[in-house]
Symmetry: C2
Subunit: 183 residues, 2 copies
């Protein structure tokens, strides 16, 4: 694997791992404030970030070394309103800068697995940014987020969907409805 | 907060988040190879790393910024024998170099919460390294790891203990038996 694609995968693995972790921390705080649905949204999206991190990490299978990883992370935690703002900033950075550039790097270097893993993540992060913005509106009014049905996560690509049932097949990776995990 | 303690907390947060994530990835592989107890050990220790990451991150509560995080991560995943070797390397780095130095930095700078969070992590990482070494011996012989009882995690400090019941109180942080989470 070319070294700049490797660096991009490492950085994305670090970023996704920390996003996953932040959302678990934020879920605990949302519960404390009496926002069980915002907590549920954080836990569901944490699972999508797990899917992304896992996909990126598994592409690095041919290495056997101790790498240094450089990644971005919004800090620090506070109220749910503050936490949702941190979450939105993290997702928007991934959507507007990070993943578009990482896709270009991997395309330029002909690293097809990395291109696919970055594209799958990008599609989910767009949805995450929107869902967190909606949740922020509720939290700012002191209300919990309304979820009709469940938050569904595609375990192959991390696609995130709110509804009574998951989509018939994943619009991002094509996985069948039965694979989706509901939160 | 002094800037070198902040950098150490950030780096430890990144390292713990990625360790948590790797162990979730490694658990899936252990299940595939027919090692359910090694998978259970990975999931339990992933929870301890969640406790560490969460403790470190929560100390950063007064910030509101997008930080750059530099952390180490052993790559890449493979068979359970390879994964256990990566896990042992990560834990030993934390025990032999990282946490002893981060404790010195935080002590020098009078950052008591960081000292405590680093000490709690160090104590657990010593146990993690030993447990993974035992699991590696089994995996190298093609056998699953033997767990008598459960793997118990202290949700306050990440202390990790195998037995029928958790200890009467946590030997690291003093939390009572009832708080432990069993895997
Ligand atoms: Fe993601
Ligand atoms: Fe996301
Ligand atoms: Fe999908
Ligand atoms: Fe840890
Ligand atoms: Fe550990
Ligand atoms: Fe403890």
């Amino acid at each position: 694997m070319k070294s700049m694609t490797k660096d991009a995968l490492l950085s994305a693995f670090g970023g996704e791992s920390m996003a996953h972790m932040r959302y678990l921390v934020f879920a605990v705080q949302a519960e404390r404030e009496g926002f069980p649905n915002i907590a549920r949204l954080f836990r569901a999206i944490a699972h999508a970030e797990y899917v992304h991190a896992s996909n990126h990490y598994n592409i690095l299978r041919d290495f056997d070394e101790d790498a240094k990883v450089v990644s971005g992370a919004p800090i620090g935690p506070g109220t749910t309103v503050k936490n949702l703002n941190l979450a939105i900033r993290g997702e928007e950075f991934e959507v507007e800068e990070m993943y578009p550039i990482y896709i270009k790097i991997a395309e330029e270097q002909g690293e097809k697995q990395a291109v696919r893993s970055f594209r799958w993540a990008l599609e989910a992060e767009k949805i995450h940014a929107e869902l967190y913005k909606e949740a922020l509106k509720s939290a700012e009014e002191g209300k919990d987020f309304q979820i009709k049905g469940k938050v569904w996560i595609c375990p192959v690509c991390g696609h995130t969907y709110i509804g009574e049932e998951p989509p018939e097949k994943c619009p991002v990776c094509g996985a069948p409805r039965e694979k989706y995990v509901g939160f």
